[in-house]
């Protein structure tokens, strides 16, 4: 999966978690916590959705890598290279 596709995957997950949010103006460099006020329960949900949808495992020590869209895509690119977009 290419970085742009991974970005779409994350947008899909965020749309699912926060259906009332307008994500078209999401800024990739700014932390999700700051822009969307996601809390630790929400971050855990992103991790669990990745496991559910793509069998990608994110170990707890790597959670800080999911802080912003940019860091998430960078972190997931090597892990999701063999995943197929659904």
């Amino acid at each position: 999966m290419a970085p742009e596709e991974i970005r779409n995957v994350i947008i899909d997950i965020l749309t699912d978690i926060a259906p009332d949010e307008d994500l078209t103006s999401l800024k990739d460099e700014i932390d999700f916590r700051e822009q969307l006020e996601l809390d630790s329960m929400d971050f855990l949900d992103i991790v669990m959705e990745l496991r559910k949808r793509y069998s990608v495992n994110v170990p707890e020590e790597d959670y800080p890598q999911l802080a912003s869209m940019a860091s998430t895509v960078t972190y997931l690119t090597p892990k999701m290279v063999d995943c197929v977009a659904s």
Binding site: I17, P19, D20, L36, D39, M41, D42, D45, M48, K52
Partner: protein, 462 residues
Amino acid sequence: MYDTIIIGAGMSGLAAGIRLAHYDQKVCILERHYTIGGLNSFYRMNGRDYDVGLHAVTNFTAKGARKGPLARILRQLRFKWDDFALAPQKGSRIAFPNTELRFDNDIDLLRSEIKQTFPSQVDNFEALLEKISDYDDLDQAAFELSGRKVLEETISDPLLIEMILCPLMWYGNAAEHDMAWGQFCIMFRSIFIEGFARPFKGVRLILKNLVKRFRGLGGELKLRSGVKTIHVDGDQAVCVELDTGEQIQGKRILSSAGNLETLRLCSDTSEPDPRSAGQLTFIESISILDRQPESIGNSDTIVFYNDSDKFHWERPTDGLCDTRTGVICSPNNYEYSDEDGNLTDGVVRITTIADFDRWNALSPEDYQREKLRWYDRSVAESIKYTPDFRAFVIDTDLFTPTTISRFTWHDNGAVYGAPAKVLDGTTHLKNVFLCGTDQGFVGIIGAMMSGISMANLHCLRP
């Protein structure tokens, strides 16, 4: 074999079920009653819809808010704000003899009321707000401090302390007289800082959305399926046995039956000490009016009243009920959308403290007679604090502690469960966990939060 068996199809069990089914667990919710909802259920009588528990959904935050328990449960359960369609309150009151405080969903109204009525307490009230904002939710030691003690250290006018405690105890205190500091903070935020709201269609809208989602995710819901025994082998549960004798196997059990009630189901435990059960239960009368309450001068959403300067939060010492304190709720007095208009009937609900044992001991004939008698007495007391509506009543109902016990299965029909809360939801068995009232969160949003957090903590860890 289920991944998780959930006992109880109330708000906490349904919310937990949605979380688990969403993450592909095989889940079964077992409900003893013939309907869902537990304390927050609903029924139909004489062609009218009634709610059982709901006066107000607390923890209200407006659409678009990202913080607070409501926003959090919506994200966790993948609902849109509009799915719960909450209309905010018009305004409420705390009414004591000669003194009242109005409040609504903006803390500034309460602030200005305190400034006017208790001018010497303005700074102390700000100090209290500071302490509440510093309180950490999951700290069991801080949770168990005496709420009254912290209040006495912060506020120097005893009447203001009693008036602040009155709505908070009424909407979520399982213990008599005093309130745990943690419970106080949770209730203060949910009522005074966040606030009250109600779906136009009542609690059934929320419940129907929860059940539809749960079933849509493949969850199974079995009504009329009371659990008789949780069979235990060593340090874990192996299966549950229903009243019918049917055995159902699960890897783990999440129970909203209550702490003592769950322990009593376990085959390895002796009868728990009944003195640790909750004692506070209510009667509630529902009066249907032929007009809107507002047309007779009642525009309050909720009124919390008390007949003296000292607030009485205790089981009645004699008699079936204690009407010195009570709550008046008018579900018409919410800001419903223009599209919805208002409820067809006027409704006034009066809640007052009752004694489970005395109600439970009545013969069927006495029970019916006492219901009529206490309807009259509780309404007569309430009209000291709200315009007299008795001439406009076209239908009535009254539910009692035994009704509450039938819906919730809690010992003594204790509305807020046992005084001792188990914040981490653990039991003596490594695969049996608690959610719901006895885990510590109350109210509709709180109960859902309890189910979600216990499901996340104990049932979804890889």
